[in-house]
Amino acid sequence: MRLAVRASFPLQLTLGLLILSVGAAAALLHAPLAHVLGHRAAPGAYDLTRMVLLYATLPRLAVAVLCGAALGASGTILQQVLNNPLASPTTVGVDAGARLALALATVWAPDLLQWGRDLIALCGSAASTALVFLLVRRRGFAPLSIVLAGLVVSLFCGALSALLALTEARQLTSLFIWGSGSLSQQSWSPFLSLAARLLLLAVPLLLLRRPLALLDAGEDSARSLGLPAARVRLAAIAIAVAISALVVSTVGVIGFLGLVAPSLARLAGARRFGAQLAWSTIIGSGVLLLTDLAVQLLAGASAQFLPTGAVTAVIGSPLLLILLPRLQSATRPPISSTGATVPVLRRGWVAAVTAALLLLVALSVFAGRGAMGHWTLLTESWSTIVTWRLPRVLATAASGALLATAGVVLQRLTHNELASPEVLGVSAGSILAVALALFAFGALGAVPEALVATLGSLVVLLIILALGVRASFAPERLLLAGIALSALADAIVGVVSASGDPRAFQLLAWMAGSAAGATYGDALLAAAAAVVVLGAALLAVRWLRILPLGAPVSTALGVRLARARLALLLIAAVGSAAATPMLGPLTIIGLVAPHFVTALGVRQPAALLLGAAGAGAGIMAGADWLARTLVFPMQLPTGLLAAMVGAPFLMVLLNRRDERS
């Protein structure tokens, strides 16, 4: 009985989307349709309403259906192949590469744009995805490695684009709109060419449908059934990437749909790969169509500039959040490091890296640039160093340690190597709160902004806790909830940026962090928070060791799951909220630092915590040093620099980590 209800639920969801879409379409199209049908008598005359309907509104809706379907399919394939419910075109670097390529072209080689925006975007996607594949080629394209490499490449490209956006803002406003996905059309030709290319890709996809379904049985069984797993995976990823790259190059970034459509299909009860693919395709087009109809209805004439991609998240995230309680906690095995690769502690490396990090910190204290732009080392007066530099170094290093600690805790807690404060949604909460405050009250000043940001993080935390409490904080649910919230925050930032409102740049500036203005008060506060959070995490180290063994074993050993998870969640949330004012919400230290230390062979939770905190602090101090010296006298945002420094580090480690296993 219950099974039957579950099985038909995707249908209900689709019907709901369809009814809403028809309603919205009726509201939107009813007037122009009546007009066009009523004036059939005068075909030759210049009729603006008719032109808009036939060559702007209808093709736009058709593109919405097409792109939604394509992204839904692409996301489903990637999630199946990478065996990770958090995978999406965004995760393998498609969007970020396209966006960076366009930004670079706009700023430095505008001539190239005459070849066509979509071609440049496609090249960017291809390059970033190729980089991802290059990084993981030695690991037989293992799913976890792909997702990790994709994330790192995305973050790296994203940081570069953000830097460009900050320094070359004037030229890149149109990119903001594209970057948030705008579906506006002037003719049928983009639709037709996209449809033709997607149809071409549908053929190999249909051929791969059955081999991919075999992966349901696990990779080992699939291989023993005669499936060349690595080759199938590569081919499937190539198709998924091509599909989403085509969409991205045509209409811009609507990346969230690639995550939300497959999740919705799965949460709605589609179990097997075939069913998931079909439903995700349908649901994807439904969600995007509905979103676009809503955008056109609500925004009226300015719909052309309101990015549908961003609004998708506004509709998709709540839908995802509502459906989350349906998620069975054990739908997928815990994501663990694959195979029996055994970490080897490399003492030489550890020593070398420790020395390098210490050197970075020393450099950031004692080296800088003088008033004329010349480099200085050990030549400044103590008062300069003590008054200006020391608080800044202390504040950034402590914030780095905070994020790294939060990262270790979250990765252990969720059994997911991709967990980080950014993923939990805590950072998203602070962005949302600050954006809201900016637009409601105007600029606030540093202290109120920090308070608002902390408040936002805590509200998000409470929402996540409320969502999670029914499932004893089951990890997968938390991650999906966090991602939904982050997408919502991204969406709002995207909409705001695309609006061209000057406050958008205030928001962007806030997101870049305020390390430059750090006082001793800030520094001591951050340092105290780092000591408290790291101390609390060290006290919880036994939970960090037991929880990755899963709920049955943890319970059998007498761990009270709900309490342990709640405590760890609080540690992580406080850690990331405390670091946000200095660094902004978009660093990747929380993700990078734990992997950095793991890659050196450290595996004991206590050593991991201390090592990651140290690495986070060192990398952050180094990033901040670069941020203030690189384009002197300008200051770059520390958080973005951290992403640019941390990501290549991790790429190198990813590339060599398992060589000797």
Partner: protein, 265 residues
């Protein structure tokens, strides 16, 4: 603690999932558990019963008590000190060495913050020695063979110092020699250290040889609860497994041996 006080009592215990009853109301008293085997066909409710006893799942009806106290009245750590549980599939123990895995068994005793005392070290060492895993103590759990890994997990349960072990098919993946070794270990734990165990087991002959008593389940109902000698009868086995079986005496001893009749026909 007297043997009777350490017994298990189930009163009308049942487990329902939407649309199905996995365990029909079951009333059972086990005063001296010794080594108790649970047998039955696949899907007969063996694992469900074990999970209820381990508090991993709450029964949807009825009362379960251990040592005279209802299961729900035990605190988490208190219960873990008394009862150890090994799931049917042991999870991947990524990045844990055998010694570290066994040391996790001390968690119910020292808790999240307590010190890991020398006595804890001694108990871990004793558990490693008792389970014959001392030689692999510094190897990673995930690199061991199935038999070695099973013993490493058992070392964790022994270090836990539970008085009752609940093991879900602990020998299913092992070769015959390792199967005997694990069951012999359970007997030894029972006879020398007074540790009782309840074992879900498919190998009927090994069950008969090593268990003090056997509980047979079928389609969520208990259909037998008796000494092995009573279970090892053709009509009983037919009832339990729905396949004709015969029983002979082992040459040189009087232990019964069951086998499936006329397999070739």
């Amino acid at each position: 603690m007297s043997a009777a006080a350490a017994g298990i009592r189930l009163v009308e215990v049942r487990f329902d999932v939407p649309g199905a009853t996995l365990l029909h109301p079951l009333t059972l008293e086990l005063d001296s558990i010794g080594v108790t085997g649970i047998i039955g066909q696949n899907g007969s409710g063996k694992s469900t019963l074990l999970k209820i006893l381990a508090r991993h799942q709450a029964a949807t009806g009825g009362e379960v008590s251990y040592a005279g106290r209802a299961l729900k009245d035990w605190s988490a750590r208190e219960f873990a000190r008394a009862v150890g549980y090994l799931p049917q599939r042991t999870p991947p123990a990524a990045q844990l060495k055998v010694r570290e895995l066994a040391a996790l068994g001390r968690y119910p005793w020292h808790g999240a913050l307590g010190r890991f005392r020398p006595s804890d070290h001694d108990k871990v060492a004793a558990a490693l020695a008792l389970t014959g895993t001392a030689a692999q103590a510094d190897r990673f759990v995930d690199t061991l063979s199935d038999g070695e890994r099973q013993r490493a997990w058992l070392a964790m349960l022994v270090a836990q110092e539970a008085r009752l072990l609940l093991l879900d098919e602990p020998i299913a993946a092992l070769d015959i020699a390792h199967q005997v070794e694990v069951l012999r270990l359970l007997r030894q734990l029972n006879e020398r250290h007074g540790i009782a165990s309840i074992v879900v087991i498919h190998e009927i002959n090994l069950a008969a040889r090593f268990c003090d008593r056997i509980i047979a389940l079928k389609e969520g109902r208990m259909i037998a609860h008796a000494a092995p000698s009573e279970i090892m009868a053709p009509e009983r086995l037919l009832q339990i497994y729905d396949i004709p079986m015969a029983v002979v005496s082992e040459p040189g001893s009087d232990g019964p041996l069951a086998y499936v009749c006329n397999l070739s026909s």
